[in-house]
Amino acid sequence: MQVMERELNNIRIKAASMSVTSGEMYQQAIRALLNHDVDLARQVVARDRLVDVYELEIDEMCLNFLALYAPKAVELRYIVAVLRLIMELERVADHSKAVSRQVIDCHCAALMPLLPDFETILNLTLQMLREATDTFFEKNEEKYESIIETDKKVGRLQRDLNASLAQLIRDDAGNIDGAIVLLNIVRRVERIGDHSKTIAELVPYIASGRVVRHKEAVIDANPDN
């Protein structure tokens, strides 16, 4: 039905705008961090409210869509996926805001040149986020595999960075403050990678209902039996 398709398209457009905004926020947070650009960091903090509004609006649109059109099959899965997507994007924006706050509150640049992997993890997770949202809107099932591979790489980088930061603390107690801030940032950056992975995992779910997360967990199809 045309009205239903129009509504579905409105949801798609709004969710895509939210993806763009969250992605830009993370990109700007990275730039603010690397260049210690406090003004840019402030802009990111201010933009977080916009993402919150997007989340509420899309949530409402999905609720209305479910109530009014009772979608089935691919459309039902799409709405469920959008509801998950916006939660992930909202978290990405929150982490970007938190990273920007660190830029505003303290000078954490001193240790960064000692950690060559630091910039790598920032760029990798930004790339993951972009690819994940592109994949979501293009419904390109093949891309998501590479995002999952990248996520493993991000996990390894996080472990290495944590070890390097611990070593810096052991080497010089004067590094403690800066290292704690960077540990926190690395943790948030790794979380953004996780959120991107979750977004990518929604793509096969929309296409065929295939659930690819938590591979080790098996659900009983008939829990009442």
Partner: protein, 252 residues
């Protein structure tokens, strides 16, 4: 901006001594679709039939209160029913084609209104059939008997016949309940298309249909209007517990 085409003010309706509608108040918004929902016997069809005074066909029926359209109470004794019913057309549950050709079915109303010019009649017929999304399917068989059309086509023919006299309002009384899902979808799309030109009031047992097509929804129960509101609110955050129970299927 929503504009009310009609308002129902404290409307009571009696079948003899039985009070079937109790102090109903609601607006009917212009160029919108309003659905009346509720369990069987709740009065929704009774209310719909007040709008074109169908109840006047039987003695002993009585209206109290008003349905006001442009400052005039259409329930008043002075109202000219022929003119009223051409302004408020009605489409019933089962298609009611007249036993005549497709063309004559549509031309019936205009001919009653003394339109004799063949060209004008042809224009009217084509316009109405196009508005009802039936033209492409019947343009080569305008002289065939309407009884030969499928159920869904017959229902669209009836809608076209209603449109041919250029009504302001179309009242749909369960107009898709005798149709298959594909024909139902066509009628629903047609209703949404038609609200550019007319105001629609529809009775439906199919709650999902009310949700899909209507802008406003009214829930009735035991002759009373329980809740009226925009459809999104009624189906997501109704104010009354009874509405909540009815739309979620837990009623009664």
């Amino acid at each position: 901006m929503n504009m009310d085409l009609m308002t129902v003010d404290n409307l009571d309706f009696y079948y003899g001594s039985h009070r079937a509608l109790k102090a109903v108040n609601m607006p009917v918004v212009k160029n919108a679709i309003t659905s009346l929902i509720g369990p069987s016997g709740c009065g929704k069809t009774t209310l719909l039939r007040c709008f074109n005074r169908m109840h006047d066909l039987y003695p002993g029926n009585r209206y109290e209160g008003a349905i006001t359209m442009r400052g005039v109470n259409i329930l008043s004794k002075q109202e000219d029913l022929i003119s009223l019913r051409s302004r408020l057309g009605m489409v019933f549950q089962k298609p009611t084609p007249f036993p005549m050709s497709v063309f004559d079915n549509i031309a019936y109303g205009p001919r009653l209104r003394k339109v004799k010019n063949k060209n004008i009649l042809q224009e009217r017929v084509e316009k109405a059939l196009r508005q009802a999304a039936l033209w492409d399917e019947v343009k080569d068989r305008l002289n065939d008997n309407a009884a030969g059309l499928s159920g869904g086509q017959q229902q669209r023919l009836v809608i076209a016949r209603t449109l041919a006299v250029e009504p302001e309002v179309i009242l749909f009384d369960e107009s898709t309940s005798a149709l298959d899902p594909i024909s139902t979808q066509k009628i629903e799309e047609l209703m949404v298309e038609l609200k550019k030109d007319v105001t629609i009031l529809a009775v439906t047992h199919n709650m999902q249909q009310a949700a899909r097509v209507s802008d406003f929804t009214a829930l009735m129960y035991l002759g009373e209007l329980i809740e009226y509101g925009d459809t999104k609110t009624i189906f997501t955050r109704p104010k009354h517990k009874m509405t909540e129970e009815y739309v979620s299927g837990h009623f009664g």
